[in-house]
Structure formats: C-alpha cells, structure tokens
C-alpha cells in the first residue's frame, strides 16, 4: 500500500503550502513534495498598467520584502528609459537594499529559526517561538527585535513609509537622504554591531555542539549556486556594474558561467512546471531538468563570490568556509548553513551601511535621471533577502505593460527545498515507516525547519487573519485518512 504523509500548511513561512512525503508499498520514502497551493497571479494583474506603476504594484506582492520588488522594478524601468542613474541614486538604492537584507535576515534568524536552535527540537511547540525565546534569553530576543527595527526604520526614513514606499523610481530615487537620517544611522550602528557579534558567538557555539547533526542532514547535497558578483568577483546585492553580473558556481568550486547578463536570462535559465504546485521550477538550462538545480539566497551569494570586501565580513566568511565548506573554493553545500550565511550577510550589510551613510553625496547629490520611454522590453535584477529576483517587462509605445515575467527567489530554490525535505525525512523517519506510526512533533518541526532554512516567502498578499494552523495527515494511496495531527 502506498501511503502519503502530509504537512499542511507549513508554519512560520509566508504563504500557504504543504509538504507531502510519499511512501512506497514497503513504507519507504520515495520522494518529498513541497506544494504551493496558492496562486498569486500578479503577473497577469500587471498587464495594462503603466510601467511606472510597477514598483508600487509589485511591492505589494510581499509585505516582508517589498523593497526587493521595488528595486527590481525600478531597475527594469531604468532600462526602459535607457538612462544611467546618478551615482547618488545608486548609493541610496544600495542603502535601501542593505537595510532590507538586514531586517529580513533578522526576522528570519531571531524570530523564526532561533527558537528551534535555542529551545531545542523537542521543546514544547507552544513555547518554541519568540515568547519562548523571550523567556530563555530576553536580552537576545530584544536585541534581535531592535536589529529588525533598525533595518525597518532606515526603510521608513528613506522612503517616507515603512512598507511599499515607491521611493525608488525609474531613473533613480525620489529624494536624497536627510542629514538627520544619516546621523541616526551612524549613531545606532554600534548597538547593532554588538548584537550581531554576540549572536555569531552564540551560534558558532551551537554549531560546535547541539546543531552538528542538522548541519549534516538538513539539505546537504551538491548543486549549483547563482548570484550577483561585481567586476572583481566580490559579493554584490544590487548591480554587478562593469565586468560584473550573474555567476553560477558548482559545488566543486568550478565557475560554470560568469558575467551573465540578466538580459539573457532565458538563455541560461528555464522553468519547469509540475501539476502539483503553483510554484515553478527554474533550472540551469545547459544541465537540463532537474539536473540543473541551483540555489539562490545568502548561502549562494557567499558561495559565488570570492570575498565580501569589508574586513569583519571577510573574516566571518573565511570562518564560515573553514567550518562548513569544502574544496579550494570552500563551497558550502549544507542548506542548514543558510542561517550562518544570513548572520555573515548582516555583518556585510552593517559595514556597507556605514560606508554609504557616511557618503556626503547621498545627502546632497542629484538623485534622478529623467527621460521618456525609449525601449519596449527590459529585464531588471536585484538580490532579495531570499535570492536573485528577475523582473521582465514588455511595454507598448505608451508605456503600458503588455507582458510580465517575475522569477522569484523562492521559486529558484524550489528543487533544493524538495531535496532538503527528502533528506531530512530519510534521516529522521523510521525506515520503513510502520503502518500505525505516529509522527512525533520534533520530526514535524525538523521537516518544516528544513524548509525554513531557505526562509521561503510564497505569498503574503492576502493575510486572512487567524489562518495558518498546522495539520498533518497520513493518507493511503486511495486518499483515505489514516492518521491526523494538528496544532
């Protein structure tokens, strides 16, 4: 008898999803499927709208990382106008994205994932959350919330509104930074540095102890990695500039493709579709599907770059590679290392925020290039907290959108998330699974935690208050419910 274990929906990720573990007749795990059952439909919705509205519209796809869509839309708009944005505007956009990465990574690490690390997989699920964290380590919980607030307040101060501020526009940004904001950022940075320093120390201690097994079993497999690098091969989050672009590196350290332009994304990326999920399955075209599986996001960005380019972040990256990487390039293959990578990226962000905040041209410089429509098609790219984000627009001569394609980071990690869940299930499920087996809470949480490594953001476009309970079902091949667990 073929049986299916279903976790529906996944908790502590954005959107609605479920996980199915498919067992064969002998009770052995065959495969894992991470289903996305909510259709977002924003691409169709955008048709007929002026391209200048795309930043404001697409930013509403997600309440957690609106800035990512804002920047990708603005960059696509730059290309439709065929303008080079002023240097100050580039610096301001970078500052915005760095703040976005900081706040998003802080939310992921401190509020969603650290309860698992600090309270333990076997702890009461009712307390394994930010409240439990407050009770166990109030200083850390509070510091994490303030770190998140730091990033959010930069977004608000720059954009005038915390969420969905259409401050980045085709041609640049609307306003420069005011001196008060600069001073506020610089004054707050020491506190945030201290928070990250303490957290890194704590987390490394956990990696040396209770988290050893998770590093080995949470999605540790070879794959490709994709991300932006600059012209010197350094860490990049917005625009590679001259000589830079997208890079694809394999787990053995080989750079398979370099200086790729987003304009040619259809030449090196393709998207497969599966009937059981609304999330598409992008892959590296030259290796085919599914062999062309690649990962994006903080771990991928740190794997594709040579180094970050700032002192503290480079030290932390070197230690991360020494701890978890292999081969001459120190490529890290465990998906569990996404958590550590987020902390290293926060370090990189704080160092870069300081540099940009101290740049006088961000307060005084020209911030917008103006032009009318000069092209009918463009592709923009940015590095969102969860990975590389592509916006592709076609417009008519009036600038109205005729076609949109969005390739989001979570989709690009889709194949890797399925692989991760399967590996965790094989490690923690009994083999074969007895017909009357109960699924213990710690196992459920590990499967979910495997997904959370990627911090997926599926859709929070309709939040529907009071939803997102967790339900686990065990069904046979005919769909009959064998067992159920909920919380």
């Amino acid at each position: 008898m073929t049986r299916t274990v279903v976790i529906d929906p996944v908790t502590r990720i954005e959107g609605h999803a479920k996980i199915t573990l498919q067992l064969d007749e002998g009770g052995h795990l065959v495969e894992a499927r991470f289903h996305v059952t909510e259709y977002r439909g924003f691409e169709k919705f955008c048709e007929g709208r002026p391209f200048t509205e795309m930043a404001g519209i697409t930013a509403r796809i997600c309440g957690i990382c609106p800035v990512s869509h804002l920047l990708a839309a603005a960059k696509t708009g730059d290309k439709l106008l065929a303008v080079a944005i002023p240097p100050a505007a580039d610096g301001l956009r970078r500052l915005l994205n760095l703040a976005q990465l900081t706040q998003s990574h802080a939310l992921s690490f401190f509020h969603l994932s650290s309860p698992d690390f600090l309270l333990g997989w076997e702890s009461d699920p009712a307390k394994r959350n930010v409240f439990g964290l407050m009770a166990a380590d109030p200083e850390l919980a509070r510091a994490g919330i303030r770190l998140r607030q730091f990033g959010q307040q930069i977004l608000e101060r720059l954009g005038g509104r915390r969420i969905h501020a259409a401050w980045a526009v085709p041609g640049g940004v609307r306003t420069p930074m005011d001196a008060e904001t600069r001073d506020w950022i610089l004054a707050r940075l020491p506190e945030e540095r201290a928070t990250v320093e303490r957290t890194l120390e704590l987390y490394k201690g956990l990696l040396d102890g209770p988290l050893r097994r998770e590093q080995r079993t949470f999605g540790d497999f070879p794959s490709l990695f994709l991300g932006l690098v600059n012209g010197e091969g350094l860490w990049e989050h917005l625009d590679g500039g001259p000589g830079g672009g997208l890079r694809i590196r394999a787990s053995d350290g080989t750079v398979l493709a370099d200086r790729l332009s987003e304009d040619d994304y259809r030449g090196f990326l393709a998207e497969a579709v599966e009937a059981w999920s609304y999330l598409k399955f992008p892959y590296y075209r030259l290796l085919g599907y599914p062999e062309g599986m690649y990962r994006v996001g903080p771990l991928a960005r740190l794997n594709v770059c040579e180094r970050i380019g700032t002192p503290w972040a480079d030290r932390e990256l070197a230690e991360l590679r020494q701890r978890s990487g292999s081969g001459p390039a120190g490529v890290i293959t465990s998906s569990f290392a996404y958590h550590h990578a987020r902390l290293v990226e926060i370090v990189a962000c704080l160092e870069a925020i300081e540099r940009h905040a101290a740049d006088p041209q961000l307060v005084e410089g020209r911030v917008r290039s103006r032009a009318s429509l000069n092209r009918n098609e463009a592709v923009g790219v940015s590095e969102a907290p969860r990975g590389t984000l592509f916006h592709h627009y076609r417009v008519d001569d009036d600038g109205l959108i005729t076609a949109v394609n969005l390739i989001i980071a979570t989709g690009q990690n889709n194949l890797a998330m399925n692989r991760t869940v399967a590996q965790i299930a094989r490690e923690y499920l009994p083999d074969p699974v007895p017909a009357n087996a109960e699924i213990p809470e710690p196992l459920l949480n590990r499967v979910e935690a495997g997904i959370r490594c990627f911090d997926p953001c599926l859709s929070c476009s309709t939040h529907a208050a009071g939803q997102m309970p967790l339900r686990l079902e065990l069904r046979d091949a005919a769909g009959a419910l064998l067992a159920e667990r909920s919380r």
Binding site: E14, F42, I64, L112, F131, Q149
Partner: protein
C-alpha cells in the same frame, strides 16, 4: 501619549485592504482643537515583532482588519456586521505565533508586555470581508458596511 491605529491587510487584494482604508480615515481626521493628540497610524500587511516597540508608546491601540465571513470571528450569521470589541487580557497571547512572520493582535500586545513591561489596552475593529481578487476595489457587500465601520471607528477615536 497618542492612540495608535494599525490598519492590517493588502490594499491590492480586494476586501483585504479595508484595514488600510479605515486607518487612513483615522489619519485624515487629524486632531480636533482641544482634544488629545492625533492618533498615530500604521499601515501594515501583517503584524511583526518590532511593532511592539511602537505599541509600548501608545495610550491605546486599535487593530483594524478584515475578517473572512464564515470564519470564527464575529459570528458570521446571515447579515454580518462590523464589530468593535476590546482585546481580552491574554487573548491570543501565543496563538498566531506559529503563523509565521505575522503575529496576532493579542500576541503583539503580549510581546509588548514582555519586552517593554507595559501593555496598552487593545481593541479590534473587524469588518466582514467577502472577496479577495487582485485590485484595490472593495466589494459591494463590504462597501455597504463601511458606514457602520466608520461610525465604530469614530466612536473609538472620540472615546477619551
């Protein structure tokens, strides 16, 4: 101290935007002569932990949100109406945390108490929501209930 009005939802998903719609009305009211300071207004897709730091500075907090007709909240009935009610102490203190990046209103207040040692009184203004298509338009069913929702909002703002 000011009152804080938090509008929750997505203004590009039909009736889910009613929280923002009403919170903006609270913002537009401003401060009448001789009255308390104008309310602070936040428009958010969901409640996140750092909001606790702001909630702690408020005299009272009103969460304005859509609720799905047919759900548990409000008692749907045949003719569901907007609902204003106080959040009970401890209500939702931990429920909703599992919901991801988002916290339930009661959970945010509980987090505020833990973080800042203070918990301003909280209220919920819930408006029946019927449709969540892409677009900013509110459904006719919801629009028919907006006058009642606005009266509840005005009553809360006027209640010093």
């Amino acid at each position: 101290m000011s009152d804080l009005v938090i509008g929750i939802g997505n203004p590009l998903r039909g009736d889910d935007g009613v929280g923002w719609w009403l919170a903006r009305r609270a913002q537009a009211r401003g401060r009448a002569p001789g009255t308390r300071p104008a309310p602070m207004v936040r428009l958010v897709p969901q409640l996140t932990p750092e909001l606790a730091l702001e909630v702690a500075t408020a005299r009272r907090v009103l969460f304005v949100d859509a609720w799905c007709v047919g759900g548990a909240e409000g008692g749907a009935g045949q003719n569901p109406a907007p609902l204003l009610r106080p959040l009970r102490p401890g209500e939702g203190g931990e429920v909703g945390v599992a919901g991801g990046h988002a916290l339930a209103p009661g959970a945010l207040l509980a987090l505020t108490a833990l973080l800042e040692g203070t918990r301003p009184p909280g209220w919920l203004l819930l408006v029946p929501a019927f449709a969540f298509p892409h677009g900013a338009a509110l459904s006719a069913d919801l629009r028919a209930r907006l006058p009642a929702a606005r009266r509840l909002l005005a009553a809360w703002l006027a209640d010093a």
